[in-house]
Amino acid sequence: MNSKLTDRFSTVMLTTALFIVAFMYLFPILWLLLSSLKPGSELFSYPLTILPETPTVDGYAYSWSTMQFIKYFINTLIVAVITTLLTVIASATCGFALAKYNYKWLNVFLICMLATTMLPTEVIMTPTFSVILELGLYDSLSGLIIPSINTATGIFMFRQYFMTVPNDLLESARIDGAHEGKIFFQLMLPIAKPVVITLAIFSFQWRWNDYIWPLIVLSDPNKYTVQIALRSLIGADNIDWVLLLSSSIISLVPMIIIFIVFQRYIMDTGATSGLKG
């Protein structure tokens, strides 16, 4: 009885804590959303009000007519989708090799790759830019996509996951006559579905929010991504808050939709299926 009470008490407390933390995370977004429905004169009036006194969607109309959102969304989607697909494929194959093959130099290779995570983007930006220039990829979407495909984080995620897959599973597949390609595509990749989805969501989010690299590589405004367009609204000495708030909300919408759709695919899969206990 006592333990039941304790269980219930801790459940209630934990749930309450969860709601408080969730609210703390949501509050700034909520404020952004409510502020975007306020007219400019209400944004800074004292005392501050959470709810708009005279709600208006004029900001959205103004934002939609001022910014070429469709164009920016298409560009950003092209970059984010292609990069994400290639990142998942490259990271999975690389992670699989690092986890399941025993060659001496593979570990050296892994350490080199992990070392790249220790360098901030800004440090490697100049040499990367030089390479992009030499390859003739300046001012093209490929110039955004190609340098972003390899991420040590993704490779490491797959490697760690594949390490947990018992070698017996691979051995039994080999005994059954499966070659390495088949083992990877038909056995390992389906098993790693949660990692695929998690990395895909992360990668998509990284590319969607990329700012500094697209800024440097792109010079044609027709190839601008959403983040560059948004930053362009911040002037030298003053900011058109009405435009910035509504544009920020519009730029969030595709990201939220994608997250809602794909979140349900994140699930755990037993990697031990097919093995005798």
Partner: protein
């Protein structure tokens, strides 16, 4: 499964190749060959400023058939972006900028003739080796705004003509009274900006920081003025958080709880559209020894090597013509930079007039100082950020004395511009 992946891979590779619209082939041969390429004009903040340059570019296209693409670039990254474009040997035809990079030196078009033909105030532009490489395009000036409603509620008067201009002593007494008599939280706010602080220094007789022999120095008045500035940051006259923690001075003033705001002419359009809870007014700035503002604004530059130099020159010439320039200044709410411009502003005409008076009454240091620093950005090997502002923030945080701050600024400027 494997086939699907293979197909996917081939498809992605194809898309990647398709995305690689390589422009390096057309280098240097665009525009002038009339291959239908638009002329790119890099600006920042045009959207915020009523798309003034976009409207004028469209008008130019209607009149001449030459297409101009106005590209809005984030303000903070304009110089970085253009410098990288120059590395890629693909500079834009034109740009509107406030800052420069040494990499641009020698690659900017000489616009002396165009500026002189159109009565542009060339002394406000950037001249390197007798070539005007960056004429001014629009002008901003530091100025003072007050919350008129609070002043009236407290029964405190303020100067309404140039004969009545207040001293800093009188001004500080006035805002202290407003704070006492009303529910105003602070007497004034000043943007966290070296540009605004310099105007305050000039008004106290400071000559800023200048080279003397082989090092940078300053006059005594600078120290006295900076001491006064530190004393004002007492969380009564001025909130310390604006300078030490980056709180937004503009939104504090818009909240209606601050009596005065030292900012500049670029706020007029915003205030006219977005303040409804109280009455505001642009007023004459206080002074101690000399009347001074600090000029700012944008320069117009054309790049050598864009392949469109001639069209760029023709467009600049067209833009500075009296009628066109007046139209541009009206759309954007700019203070004009041509001698004969008469601008009818859509909002707060009297506020703009007051700024014109401020500029006319200002000590020449207001423009000379800024241009000197910008020229240094172009011809020095190093460019210095906001050295004085950074040192003052450290001082306001009680991490160093004022003397140390001044010494540091001298050393930093000497290292950047002389050593």
């Amino acid at each position: 499964m494997k086939k699907t992946f293979l197909l996917l891979f081939v498809l992605l590779s194809t898309i990647l190749v398709a995305c690689s619209g390589n422009n390096s082939e057309s280098n240097g041969e665009s525009g002038s060959e009339s291959n239908g390429e638009k002329m790119q004009f890099y600006v920042s903040g045009d959207t915020v400023e009523g798309s003034a340059l976009t409207k004028m570019s469209e008008k130019y296209t209607e009149e001449t058939g030459v297409e101009i693409e106005v590209v809005d670039v984030p303000y903070d990254d304009m110089v970085t972006k253009i410098t990288n474009m120059m590395r890629a040997e693909e500079p834009p035809a034109l740009a509107r900028v406030t800052g420069f990079n040494p990499a641009w030196n020698g690659k900017l078009m000489d616009l002396t003739e165009v500026a002189e033909q159109n009565n542009v105030m060339v002394d406000m532009g950037i001249t390197v080796e007798d070539k005007l490489v960056a004429p001014p395009l629009d002008l901003t000036a530091v100025g003072m705004f007050i919350n008129k409603s609070l002043f009236e509620e407290a029964g405190v008067s303020y100067p309404e003509s140039e004969e009545e201009v207040w001293t800093w002593e009188e001004f500080l007494n006035s805002i202290s009274t407003v704070v006492e008599e009303t529910d105003a939280q602070y007497g004034m706010v000043m943007d966290n900006s070296e540009h605004r602080l310099n105007a305050f220094l000039y008004q106290h007789g400071s000559k800023g920081f200048y080279p003397d022999g082989d090092e940078y120095t300053t006059n005594e008045e600078t120290e006295d003025a900076l001491q006064r500035f530190i004393d004002m940051n007492d969380n009564t006259i001025m909130p310390k958080a604006v300078w030490t923690a980056g709180e937004d001075a503009s939104s504090m003033f818009k909240s209606g709880r601050v009596a005065a705001y030292m900012s500049g002419s670029w706020q007029i359009t915003d205030f006219a559209s977005n303040i409804e809870d109280f009455e505001w007014e642009a007023v004459y700035m206080p002074y101690e020894d000399v009347r001074a503002t600090n000029l700012g604004g944008n320069y117009l530059v054309g790049f050598e090597g864009s392949g469109q130099e001639e069209q760029a020159r023709e467009f600049i010439d067209w833009l500075y013509q009296k009628e066109n320039y007046e139209e541009l200044a009206t759309y954007g709410g700019y203070l004009p930079v041509t001698e004969d411009a008469e601008v009818e502003y859509e909002l707060a005409q009297e506020a703009y007039q007051l700024y014109q008076d401020e500029i006319a009454a200002s000590d020449p240091i207001a423009s000379q100082q800024r241009n000197e620093l910008v020229v240094k950005q172009l011809i020095s090997q190093r460019s210095l950020g906001s050295s004085l502002a950074d040192e003052m923030i450290t001082t306001l945080n009680d991490e160093q004395s004022l003397d140390e701050a001044i010494e540091n600024v001298k050393v930093e400027m000497t290292e950047a511009y002389i050593d």
